[in-house]
């Protein structure tokens, strides 16, 4: 569903975005993957490449079989209709009701009133907000607001759902609500890729974990935990990553690389 082939992203020195360095990975249809790593490790860059907000400097990004470096900007909207996006800060329109917020995503791509009346209630039901359709976002809890954001992201029935720190602004109870909704959506067949810092959730939910560090994939586990590494500040002030468990770092590192190489070979 999403495939990166030797993708590198080089930025001008003064741009804030993190670079990517020779990233190769494939996320299959129907998978649920966590994308973890420190701030600046390249998670957001990864997501924006999938959305084709940017083009990679080198390598190829495939989404639903299309090479995103090759498609014209005219076809980008069509690509994005197949990808739902959930924001950390919800990004709901305050003056619109819950129903209208979800309907907005259909309106702007030209859906008919009948389609909207038909699909919005389904989406709200899926996130468990069918009884709050007439409320304004400000009357809802953070978790409910994020669920509205998710309903908006899936109302056009995308094959892929990207979520950028969807629980970043939520407490634990609300985070679990949101995670359960994402799980349910995944079980309906949608590929979910969630960038996150939430250790506990990653460790509890036991999905695939892809870890980025300074633009490189350093770990890819089928049922991973948030991280097994801890940052150590060396005496000269530089940072290094060390594994918290007993195994030697080099060994683990090569394991991870092998796992990635295996994937590549399968292609």
């Amino acid at each position: 569903m999403i495939k990166f082939e030797n993708v590198s992203m080089v930025y001008e020195p003064r741009q804030e975005n993190a670079a990517l360095d020779d990233v190769s990975i494939e996320i299959n249809r129907g998978e649920f993957a966590f994308l973890v790593g420190e701030s600046g490790s390249g998670k957001s860059t990864f997501l924006s490449l999938v959305l084709r907000e940017k083009r990679s400097s080198a390598g190829a990004v495939y989404v639903a079989g299309q090479n995103l470096n090759r498609i014209s900007s005219r076809r980008v909207p069509k690509l994005r209709r197949n990808i739902g996006f959930v924001f950390q800060d919800f990004r709901l329109l305050r003056e619109r009701t819950v129903f209208d917020n979800v309907a907005f995503a259909m309106e702007v791509i030209g859906a008919s009133r009948a389609q909207i009346r038909d699909r919005v209630p389904d989406a709200l039901k899926l996130v468990g907000l069918e009884d709050k359709a007439r409320r304004k976002p400000t009357e809802l809890s953070g978790g409910e607001q994020q669920r509205v954001g998710i309903a908006r992201a899936i109302v056009n029935k995308p094959a892929i759902l990207l979520a950028d720190e969807p629980t970043g602004n939520l407490d634990r109870k609300n985070s679990i609500e949101v995670m359960n909704v994402l799980d349910r959506i995944n079980q309906n067949g949608t590929t979910v890729l969630m960038a996150t810092h939430a250790h506990e959730l990653v460790s509890e939910y036991r999905h695939r974990v892809i870890e980025l560090n300074r633009g490189r994939i350093i770990r890819d586990e089928v049922e991973g935990q948030y991280t097994k590494m801890t940052t150590v500040i060396n005496q000269d002030g530089s940072r290094a990553l060390l594994f918290g468990d007993d195994s030697a770092p080099q060994e683990r590192d090569s394991d991870a690389t092998e796992a990635i190489n295996d994937k590549k070979d399968e292609d």
Binding site: E53, P77, L79, R80, R81, R91, F104, A105, S112, A153
Partner: protein, 304 residues
Amino acid sequence: MRLGFILREAVKGLRQNVVMVVSVVLVTFVSLTFVGAAALLQLQINQMKGYWYDRMEVAVYLCDDTSAATNCAGKEVTEQQRNDIKSLLESEQLKPYIKEIAYESKDQAYKNFLDQYKNSSLVDQVKPDQLPESFRVALVDPEKYQVINEALSTVPGVESVVDQRELLEKVFQLVRVASGAAAIVAAVMIVCAVLLTGTTIQLSAMHRRLETTIMRLVGASKATIQLPFVIEGVIASLIGGVLATGTLWLLMKFLVEDKLASENVGVAFISTGEVWLIAPALLILGIVLATISSVVTLKRYLKV
């Protein structure tokens, strides 16, 4: 459905941004008014040219006993001299330049004068023998006045050769200067209007960044995202254009038709009809300017 959506978003933008939109309307209004004024003055020049050039002639005034010109030597033109002048005008040498020759006697001159100034108090002060007799020469090309002047001005019995067009040129010159000044003001104001429209659209786009981000990520087309802003700019400048047209019409109606034209019966003035002639051009200009400045702004400030 999507068109309805785009229009609703445009109207929402206009409402959110009232102060800026009002300033765009006003600046566009003033600039298009000046554009229109310049155009109307130009039309007025053409109108007068068309009207007068058909009637304008070179007048060859003949001597009478009060003439001070050296050619006349204080004597009235003789029969012989008059015939000589006439045959000179009809000669092969001048023929290619001349369309028509008419003789105007003192009596006819007086009659024409009465016609032209019938509402004026001048009529009572002028007597038939005060007006000189003349040949009225219509030229094939009114610009070739010098040829007639050179051929006739030194001939005995000719008091003076007057190109009536020259008198008018002074009036034209004045109108041209006014038209040019209006055009310069219009140009400056148009630059203001374009910049202000751009700034307004930029503000509007920043104001609705949340909407546009969502639209972009759910796969709305470029047109759906950008058109509301362009339409917002176009509506504002259309209102400006309508106000400009209205103002020009009022000026034309009350200043030109009701005042200038009725006080100067002999002069051909343009009328409110000409305002309707230039109105579509003004509105189109407004639309084009607003579209250009919003598209350029959006290209820079609105990611799609």
